[in-house]
């Protein structure tokens, strides 16, 4: 268990709680329990959208001293995730990245990289290899 806390955490932020949960299920099945993982989706009323408070809670849940990589789906998820990062304490802020990658493939790739103990920048780069330039 000590190893888990050393690995980079993964946060999945979708407009839809179903997409977020499904993506997290895929990560767990394909990568296992070796990485801290949390997800959120939906606006503050429970409809489609994203929610800064929920993203902050997910960051707390997946927190690791090695940092946290956030995977997002569409525009508002990215903007709200960046806002959630800025609302973190300064010592945490520089250890959180929002990955420019497709959410499902990016989460699986990032978690795979993280489960091997890779540092945050490698986790981000691996996820972003999936993005069109």
């Amino acid at each position: 268990m000590t190893k888990i806390n050393g690995n980079v955490g993964i946060v999945i932020v979708s407009h839809s709680i179903d997409v977020a949960r499904g993506t997290a299920d895929m990560v767990r099945q394909m990568v296992g329990d070796g990485v801290p993982l949390a997800y959120c989706g939906g606006n503050p009323d429970g409809g489609l959208g994203t929610n800064v408070q929920a993203i902050m809670t997910a960051i707390d849940q997946a927190w690791s001293d090695s940092g946290v990589a956030i995977l997002v789906d569409l525009g508002g998820a990215e903007t709200n995730s960046e806002m959630a990062v800025e609302l973190q304490p300064p010592e945490r802020r520089r250890r959180i990245v929002v990955c420019n990658a497709p959410i499902v493939e990016g989460a699986v790739m990032a978690a795979t990289e993280a489960s091997g103990g890779a540092p945050l920048e490698d986790v981000k780069r691996t996820a972003e290899e999936l993005s069109p330039v």
Binding site: L48, T50, V52, T79
Partner: protein, 203 residues
Amino acid sequence: METVAVTFDAETLRRLIDAAAGAMISHADELTALDQAIGDGDHGLNMKRGFEAVLAERDQLAAKPLPDALKAIGMTLVMKVGGASGPLYGTLFIALAKELSAAPSQEEFVRAADAAFAAVKARGKSDIGQKTMLDVLKPARDALAAGRDPVAAANAAAEATIPMRAVRGRASFLGERSIGHMDPGARSSALLIAAMHEVLEGS
């Protein structure tokens, strides 16, 4: 607007909050329709949700000095809107809060508008001409600085987003098809400017 400082007492703040929230709530359907054309169709509902939350705290907000009230409004929008417009409008209000004193002069307003524009631009990683709220904020700021009517400038600027092609946000997925529709964020910005300007002019 004259160069004399506006007094932001609790009554003025209450009226400003009522006007801003009223504009967003009464135009929610229109904003949603604009967003359905080129976005994901939630802008009106999101702004309504955010400003209903602001309205629910109106009296506590109005009791605060202007900068504290603006900061609190910004945080409420960040937390409650539930779309990209939450951090964008939240950032706008928080940036204004940092620049304005409790009794700001016209020069302070212009300086604060500059700071707010820069903050929203950074938050959205966007710029002028990309069919966003920035296309309204800048002309409104320039009109204010030049002593012209910021409401007329904002409305004309919102209209001017119609022929623009979106390169940010969900509308950018539409490419050329985003042309021919007013940007919903530009429209909500113009509505907020008009609502608040009316209160300040009348006070």
